[in-house]
Symmetry: D2
Subunit: 357 residues, 4 copies
């Protein structure tokens, strides 16, 4: 008898269901006696013992289904060690529920924050497999996370649509793409959507260079300019501020995001109006793209294989096209950011894309 | 020899190119000698004589192309009679360019504002055909405008994506749909997307009824609620204000739109956080949907037929499934709004959708 | 207490689930005590008493879901009066199951064949509401059936994709669109996809006219031609044959469909190779388009309203934009075909589309 | 002054235009004086001197455009050394046109056949850069070709749509995916679409194992089964035949493809009807997916960089996520096939997918 638990934690994204299906199909096809417990709403379900036994039927037809059949929630890592409002020790509660169900392994799907808690539980002695989910593709130790390519597709679609409007009206348009700390999504969607200027959190921008790029494009006969801007894009001035001061400044910002501030600055310096579009949460929603479905099926199958071999304590990632196990302890808490020297940045610059520097 | 001019005016939308293609294909297939002049950027091109002679090649492959190959601009009807900054009488300038090119007819694609100017030019003696474009479907005298169904598709797609996220997180989500004065787009996308609450400019809402609907939905076991809210949705209180006072109030609004205000109110009254998504200009962009392509081809073909019969001064619309000519003078300046007694509203209410009243 | 039965019959299509959801949401929101019985696999479930009681949960999240949660099957009307292999009188069996469950009404979703049986059951004294489903839009008494616009979208997408290939290779391409007896789907998808030649069952073609159209297009400088051909397209010669003889001829056809025969003929007469694409069953599959979701929600809501008013024996259709009840007896067995004089045909001809005549 | 020629050859696919745009944008942004000559219809244009000088405008807005603005044709490598019907030495003709235009480099986009000729021209002393295009992803020396992921998306969409129909009717469906010699496309689309059985040219199938898999699936309570079958799928018996004999057999086949034969066999052995869907050429058509747009932009930019460094004689590929130059002579004529031991095959088997062996 094999007993596994499963939970999805953090912001939802595409292919969570596809990945869980991969794990369970992999186990069902190879293990005689299997029990799968699904915890609701992320770690919350594990903490408070809120779960359901899942059958094969639960995993039928969910390959293409967006969101997560288990629900999810954001449970900040920082507070995991802090007792809840009733004094409950959350880590102990999770361990107790794990042992009460006599689980052989707990499969955890989530991003960076989730991974840290997963690693914490591993250190506490639980058998853990982590599967790297996030539209940000910022998880260290894997070339690709599921959700990322689906989000690229949606953000690119938004830029595509804006293109026809921008070209018809000869306007400057800014599309704000998700990503507070990391710019992979904006970088890929920006290139795929044919953006002229791409602003990333990792490459603080110089407002004058942005304006220069807008003028240059107009001078070359193009009536419109498209900016793809990450939520976490930041000016050189702000990037130079002490962290605390920056936080204060952002708090006091009168605009909902950097995009509005940037648009105002451009207007003040040039008289050019910048229209803003924010696809927002749509970037996390809907059916996973075929790329993500293949990736998540692969990661799920490999997770099943590890579980059957009783190899625990790993994240399953993909490196150079091969699915691999990566020790959780080696990667937890690390962020994979865009390097300004990344080959992709150079290629984008080569074809004339400005990064505002 | 037949000489026609063509221009697209107002906010761009899908199927402008498809419609122009319909007109020109209709004429080309039936008229021996044809000259088509395209004016750039809406009425601006007609005023300042900025145009190009178009060939069959210009209309090849544009059936599926978003935006407008002629460019467009918003030229407020109110200012048409006011001379420009150099003292130019704009109406006279348009007439002169029309006569200089010895046009037999001017085909004008646009929405309500555009239509008013088109009618003005008709009153001034020009031969005009107007084709009803707008994602708002608010043009009087036609059951349907091209652009509308394409925009419904995009707004619905946004709601669909939000659904998976809302369900995974058990949250309340608000999707702001285009439409300042008229709610057809929000109504259709809201029903198509399975929204629980739909707020339209024509049906001022009662905040308490909205909250009631959210609570009712939670009580029936659903963890999430989706609101589809038109840009021009308005509270009962605001709707009761004198127009001037309301304008002032909106100007002073600290939020970019009613959605943010509404979300704040809901939060203050219930503690429930409402996430907002604004698909914005994406709703006007990209390739027209097949429905719009058929509609615009039909309207274009009928416009060509009218021109060949020298029947001018009409808008071409579709009424009860039949394409028909409608005297411009009968419809210009009138708005087609959602009636609270519309059958569609009743049907939506029947299946449990709340309109906040 | 209100007890209704529900079944879906005939070839599946989009928006079956959306329509059932409409009916049940409409009833649930207005009826205190409601029981809904879903019969599996069309009339089969009713004949053999294969059903399940459905709860609100069954209808949650199915607005966007393709296919039918009840399953379907084709049960030829002709054989309904013939006992099954065990001597069971099928009509009597259906009646017995209806009465055993003390149903107030049976809601039947299906196309023409389904409708005939629905009417038969009505004549037998059962309370029936019929909802018009079919990608063919060939049901008499309604302007539109749900499934149609979704199928148009898919067939158009196929033509769109073929366009880029045809243009790159300067080839003649034929896309075979579903529709054995009726050409609405081909007509709409053909126009929306920018096909140059459209062949319908209702307008028998002259092979020489088709070749003429191909040559004419080449002469006008276009390297490629696209044909949209209904499955049931037929040559003038074949259309003139006695029905029996034609049936024999079709049986002996060495090709899987008329498209291959036509392609061969064109090749033999001109040396031009014609590539064939058959999107086939994909045209019935996947999520319903927003247009269909609104339509099916409306029809469903109206069905609910009729049931609550105890008005039975109707099909719910849409006529001139209004949802209406139509006496089943008036429409059952009638087919809505494309008239060669339809306005849409004239408009298509106006822009230069050839119908091979 | 830099003079480059460009041509696209072989079957068209998505992202040909995107790739050419990448090359030209990369050169335009960095080279003062640039002339780009586009040869029409593949090598034909180079042989017969059919070309046009291209401007920046030609490459504007084509990132998302399917097909190729230059046209393409299949010019078999085998016949390149054979004079044409007028006795023209084709290789010499290509060289002459290359030298006449004083080209610095010829950029060739195409698949395996195209690559062989590209290498031939390199051996003849021309400066060549090859860019790997094909929906088959079968080019040796690169992990990925552009066009592949777009084709996966389309084939997967077909399988998705068939899924809803198959599930509603409890049927066995077969989707025939492009790929005569190589199965990558079928493998990826099959996994992404949730196919139960995947048949590839590289893994000859045993009909009895296929039937076993269908029965097993039915036994596990699933009413339907989906097969994803490559055009070049082959039975064990046929694979064992001498090549010549096999060719003869295929010629005599009464069915248009292996799928029909297979369906007949399954029917004869089990009485189960298998419905066939062939998305065909749609798999090569339409706008490239964002993944392909990023890939082709990268390859194009790298090609531009090589040209500027006067490094010729390379294919530009992507290996382990890095864009790299690969000596044409090392890879031309080699095919990258699916190994039965590929990790992806193992993962697919792990989750219960049958390969008919």
């Amino acid at each position: 008898m094999l007993r596994i638990g499963m939970l999805t934690s953090g912001g939802d994204c595409q292919a969570l269901n596809a990945t869980m299906r991969g794990v369970v199909k992999g186990l069902s096809a190879n293990v005689q006696e299997l029990e799968v417990y699904g915890f609701y709403d992320g770690y919350k379900g594990l903490i408070y013992g809120n779960y359901r036994m899942l059958s094969a039927k639960d995993f039928s037809g969910i390959l293409t289904k967006g969101g997560t059949i288990l629900g999810t929630s954001r449970q900040p890592f920082k507070l995991m060690r802090t007792p809840d409002e009733h004094g409950l020790d959350k880590v102990e509660a999770m361990k107790q529920n794990y042992y009460k169900l006599r689980l052989d392994c707990l499969v955890i799907l989530g991003g960076n924050g989730t991974q840290k808690t997963a690693n914490l539980l591993r250190e506490e002695g639980l058998n853990i497999i982590h599967l790297p989910k996030t539209i940000d593709n910022d998880i260290y130790g894997t070339d690709m996370t599921f959700g990322f390519q689906s989000a690229v597709d949606i953000a690119t679609d938004a830029i595509d649509r804006i293109h026809t409007t921008a070209a018809s009206h000869n306007r400057v348009f800014l599309v704000e793409v998700m990503g507070h700390k990391v710019g992979w999504l904006t970088l890929h969607a920006g290139i795929a959507g044919g953006a002229d200027i791409i602003l990333l959190p990792e490459i603080p921008y110089d407002i004058d260079k942005i304006i220069e790029a807008i003028h240059k494009r107009a001078a070359s006969g193009h009536g419109f300019t498209i900016l793809a801007v990450a939520e976490g894009a930041i000016s050189k001035e702000d990037a130079a501020l002490p962290k605390k001061e920056l936080k204060e400044k952002i708090k006091k910002r009168k605009h909902p995001s950097v995009s509005y501030e940037l648009a105002e600055q451009i207007f003040q310096k040039t008289g050019i109006e910048v229209r803003i579009t924010v696809p927002g949460h749509t970037q996390r929603g809907g059916s996973p793209c075929p790329y993500d479905r293949v990736l998540s099926t692969r990661l799920g199958a490999e997770a099943a294989t590890l579980i059957m071999k009783k190899e625990y304590g790993y994240m399953v990632g993909i490196i150079n096209g091969k699915v691999k196990k990566v020790p959780l302890g080696d990667v937890a808490g690390k962020l994979k950011m865009v390097s300004p020297d990344d080959q992709l940045i150079k290629e984008a610059k080569c074809i004339g894309i400005s990064f505002g520097v």
